[in-house]
Symmetry: C2
Subunit: 721 residues, 2 copies
């Protein structure tokens, strides 16, 4: 237990806030702060290498790149940047696509050009007409824009630019955000205010935020956005709304971002006046074809549809006795003539099969491997339950070699403390991507399934369920910006290290000072394990309160579907706790490759982080550290609380490196996280103690409230519900 004690009073905080009154908006600028470089040597290197910029070409995208360089360099170098008409000067940043380069220059990047894909870029120090220049080039203008953002990142993070040959291409085609945004601007599981999309004022009012949203996404390589909730409303497909979507698509297009929509499967009935939505009915098929034509007439680069079908009450092909293949392929045929795709979600679980929800998506989808159209991609959540603080990787990854699978991560913190808890999610994403499916022997990681290299898929994709809302700081918590950022970086390259990403983000967002970067990065990297510790240690899962999912609710047992109840997942009784998914139980382990199944099946080899996910374990079971399971659980909860204490202590010393507004915001939020970590600890331990019948071990603080109190808490207006 740390010695850290929170000395917190609201009054003190407010007093401290008073001198802050400065209409400060650094929160809004995300990782594109472009503050002046502080290190004098580095600044001098930059100044001697950057005497001006030269744009080759004048497409809208090149204009954006020019503007971004102008803003970025002016801020970073602290002086006006001149835009040169030509390359007669020296030490210029010259940027333009392959087709705009002269022969001499082209020759110098020929080799690199042959290695990049259409979205890749080259940043290379070259000599042209005897003059040293910095060239940013690519096969396309969008590639150039990505190069510009990557170049600016080098400067934002104090990297040398003296001799550059930085060549990179995205490893995944579709790098996309899913907005669970409703047409009334509420956001399902949104904790950063409300939807950015002001449908009422569209199409004629283009909010500045649409542009800044596109900038931020382009800066990290995100190239697609699904504007609407997977729990879809058919009205988005009516002409009134398509016109509004078109206006957004126009803004996003120049930033290389395609727009996608969710398709409500019953739309032909609801807005088309048909009597059925049966995917094998020709009138239904034709309705979707006409609808696709209508959309593509207005939005020629429309990305396609995302569909949640026959899942949690959403309509789908099964309503008509058809299957997922029938539904997905019908939509795929409608958008195929225009190059569109269908992202079909595998998040399904039956209300008629109470045995083990963890097996169901696998059972429902894997048999269809090879039957989907070429332009269908199956969207699979990272784990088999639902975005828990920790889940083993979803067994579908690697199990459908003939079908491209798209990774669905959740950036919004539905189960991880909303926007009040600092949890650095790229650490979680990395854990999943590095997981070994063993489907083609050791080293068959999830990342290789996702990026297509494993099974040679043409379409590859990765999805982040957005944490973006209309809060001024976009994501509710200043550090939640890192999760948007990190998702984008991992979408571009799923083999990146989350620590390196955190390093970049901290430097771009706050400061390059290592006295700040090192301790705060450590805090970020530990934060995911911390939230697991104080919410769901040792493989526990789905024990949050019901509906809003805010705070603990292990006692909830009265919901209509068994698999909605926390008691279904923890199965605590006097003998022990945990869900037996081994071959002696639900046998969900059998869905994995044999090597993995064996590992998880055996309580002795099962990693303790998944212990209660796969096994029902006696309270007296001895953990690897020699503690009993009961003591181990209790100490993990305490550890989680203590770690949040340490986070508070760390942050409290960072006031000199961060503007006062953001410093205080994070401080207030860490105080809340500490309070809520205790709430989780106390509520869960008091509840489980009823079954274990044991005392709390030494080192675990006594609960401050009774179990009755915790069970009585109600949050009728918790956000995102």
């Amino acid at each position: 237990m740390t010695k850290f004690i929170i000395r917190f009073s609201l009054y003190q905080l407010i007093l401290f806030l008073l001198p802050l009154v400065i209409w400060g908006q650094s929160d809004y600028k995300l990782w594109l702060q472009y503050n002046k470089v502080q290190n004098k040597n580095i600044l001098s290197e930059y100044n001697s290498n950057i005497k001006g910029i030269v744009a080759l070409g004048n497409s809208e995208t090149i204009q954006i790149a020019t503007k971004e360089l102008e803003i970025g360099l002016s801020g970073l170098l602290g002086k006006q940047i001149t835009i040169q008409e030509n390359s007669k000067g020296q030490s210029l940043v010259i940027f333009g696509s392959e087709s705009s380069l002269n022969k001499d220059v082209l020759e110098q990047v020929k080799k690199e050009l042959s290695t990049i894909n259409n979205e890749g870029f080259i940043i290379k120090s070259i000599v042209s007409d005897g003059k040293k220049q910095l060239l940013i080039t690519a096969k396309t203008d969008i590639g150039v824009l990505y190069g510009v953002y990557n170049f600016l990142r080098l400067l934002q993070t104090d990297k040398s630019i003296a001799n550059l040959n930085f060549v990179d291409s995205p490893k995944i085609n579709i790098r996309i955000l899913n907005h669970w945004d409703n047409l009334d601007r509420t956001v399902e599981r949104g904790y950063a205010g409300f939807s950015l999309w002001n449908w009422h004022k569209l199409p004629d009012f283009i909010d500045e935020r649409y542009i800044d949203y596109a900038r931020a996404n382009a800066s990290i390589g995100i190239n697609g956005t699904v504007l609407t909730n997977v729990n879809a409303n058919a009205l988005i497909l009516t002409p009134q709304y398509i016109e509004k979507v078109e206006a957004l698509a126009k803004v996003f297009r120049t930033y290389g971002i395609k727009v996608y929509l969710t398709a409500r499967f019953s739309a032909p009935i609801e807005i088309g006046g048909l009597k059925t939505a049966d995917p094998l009915d020709p009138t239904v098929q034709n309705w979707w074809k006409e609808k696709a034509k209508e959309i593509y007439t207005r939005i020629p680069d429309f990305g396609g549809f995302l569909v949640k079908a026959n899942s949690e009450g959403q309509p789908g092909p099964q309503n008509y006795g058809r299957n997922h293949v029938d539904g997905a392929n019908m939509l795929a045929d409608a958008v195929a003539p225009y190059g569109g795709i269908v992202m079909w979600r595998a998040f399904v679980y039956s209300e008629h099969d109470p045995s083990d929800r963890a097996k169901q998506a696998y059972e429902e989808f894997v048999p269809y491997d090879g039957q989907f159209r070429d332009n269908v991609i199956i969207q699979v959540k990272n784990g088999a339950i639902d975005f828990q603080p920790r889940e083993p990787f979803h067994p579908m990854f690697g199990a459908m070699p003939k079908t491209p699978l798209m990774m669905e991560f959740q950036i919004t913190q539905e189960y991880l403390g909303f926007s009040t808890h600092l949890v650095y999610l790229p650490k979680l994403f990395q854990e999943v991507l590095e997981s070994d499916t063993y489907r083609k022997g050791k080293g068959s990681t999830v990342a290789k399934v996702i990026d297509g290299s494993f099974d040679n898929h043409k379409i590859t994709g990765i999805v982040g369920v957005s944490n973006i809302g209309n809060d001024i700081n976009w994501t509710g918590h200043p550090f939640a910006q890192a999760n948007w950022y990190g998702f984008g970086r991992l979408a571009w390259n799923p083999y990146l290290d989350s620590g390196a990403i955190a390093d970049d983000w901290l430097r771009m967002t706050f400061s390059n000072n290592i006295n700040f970067v090192i301790p705060v990065k450590e805090m970020m990297l530990k934060s995911r394990e911390t939230v697991v510790n104080y919410m769901t240690p040792l493989g526990l899962h789905h024990i949050m309160d019901t509906g809003h999912h805010y705070g603990p609710g292990p006692w909830v047992s009265n919901l209509s579907r068994p698999e909605w109840n926390p008691v279904y997942y923890h199965k605590a009784d006097k003998d022990g706790i945990g869900f037996n998914r081994s071959k002696t139980g639900s046998n969900a382990t059998a869905k994995y490759a044999p090597e993995v199944a064996q590992l998880f099946d055996n309580i002795g080899t099962c990693p303790e982080q998944y212990l209660l996910w796969f096994h029902h374990v006696s309270w007296d079971y001895k953990l690897k550290n020699g503690k009993t399971l009961w003591d181990g659980i209790a100490l993990k909860y305490q550890q989680g609380v203590d770690e949040v204490g340490t986070m508070n202590a760390t942050w409290d010393t960072m006031g000199n490196y961060v503007d006062e507004q953001r410093f205080k915001e994070v401080q207030m939020l860490l105080r809340i996280q500490y309070k809520e970590a205790k709430w989780w600890r106390d509520a869960c331990l008091l509840y489980f103690q009823q079954y274990s019948g044991k005392e709390l071990p030494e080192g675990v603080e006594k609960p401050t409230q009774t179990l009755d109190y915790f069970e009585s808490l109600k949050f009728p207006f918790a956000p995102g519900n």
Copy 2:
């Protein structure tokens, strides 16, 4: 008809927006931009008169005043302002309350101090110890803060400060915003996003916006805020929420702003577990007393309750056979020991009396004159129907001499184009305040009723239904900020001229350049008449579409209560149009003083702006300009459209005076307003033409769509509904 043609394409606008990408937030700063003074002579005068600032005292409010002067003067003068420890220097701005002044200084403002009230202030050039100084003083620290904001306003508007003796006090005690904000953060009739109050993160997270909200309000003298919707939720009165309200109250207190809540009349049942909410039941009375005690224990300066009772389905004393006096007095007794008040709304109309809604509040309330407790104030909307573009003043004003009446204005544009139409509302407010009730002979203006001077009331009040939301620019439309601003200024002094307020606002918000101020002020001042022209000319009212109130809906006739239907209000038939409220009709005119009643009764003397409000008039009736009524109506609609065209043309020439982001925002919004003005014109004229059977007169453009088309439009997700 103007020659102005809108050459508008979204594409052009977006292209134009590209170079804008600058994370610009001037929108957020409201009228507190504090940009550097451009006029060199004036700047030089300021510099020679302001060498530093000296704070007398160090209360939190004085600290705020110091900070504001520091920020404001640094910006305006373009240099760092030094805070002096004492007044030894010369040309200092010295500020502090009466009690902090030394004898010599006190003597110089003694006379002024005797004329101001507790919130008043004095800004005076003085000589102390032989040195010329600028003194800002008041009886209270809040008065000093008001003085500081008023001083800064002088500088923001290029006024001379060489020899000042500016003495002012608010003429109304309670200057308050009503937020129709729900606990789920939706805002009833809110068009600027969602509620500022992030209840979920309160009390521990203090959003910077709370502080900036308080600043903005204090800067215009607003001293109260009702946080919650008049259609109330009892949960706001539970301990969980009172703790959150307490946190907001703490932020607002130092800015002189008291917090008030709406009281749901049935709260004793809903959260108190009682069987009744009968105001004469002692357990109910006691419940409210205990509740008041609980609130005041946490918030000692809690302002009191606002109540909408027995109105549009809200519970109230009539549910128990009691009356408004019983209900209001019970609550008044509960808060009286703590100095609290009850604001009881008079917005009532019976569903059982379909004769004329315009008479009902009068009939229900006036008989109770003199029966309310001293700490009850009756809150009356400006007109007898509901915040229409134009209404004659409410007949209750002046009719209840023994009861203080509070003016309720609506700043949010429920019936005036939401946040897409530029309508400068202080012009409307001024028209109402200047209206003559004739209750004590000529000159008995509404303003005199409101400010208490007419009947010597101690409590006086004025309410603005807020147009504030979590949009970055606070109010959705940059010019809607002027309505918040103007309401505050008129609340302080209801005799101010709306033109002078517009002048100040434009200079503070945009520019002091007269080439900007003069034409744009003219545009603002005309804008209210313009919206009347294109929506409801000649006394038409309540012909908007139903539910959301967006756009025209004169055809709506199917709502369950007769007085909810537009047809009830316009009564168009083949003989004519208008609601006969004269003595030959509903006799609503009789509710006014005889002089006023006579004026309105007689179609010859009734001002044409109220013609169809009070009379059913033949289509062939000759207006004062010689046109028939039909032609006159049609030409008014056209005039409204043309005037919006002129607004567009005016604004289009203002690009040099305004930052690009706000310039473009206003431009896009004016384009929408133009489109929607035509929609109103076309829909209303096509509909009324069915009854008049006449051709559109020359000069009126042909409608672009059919009536069927307009009637078919649906807006299921229009905001604020």
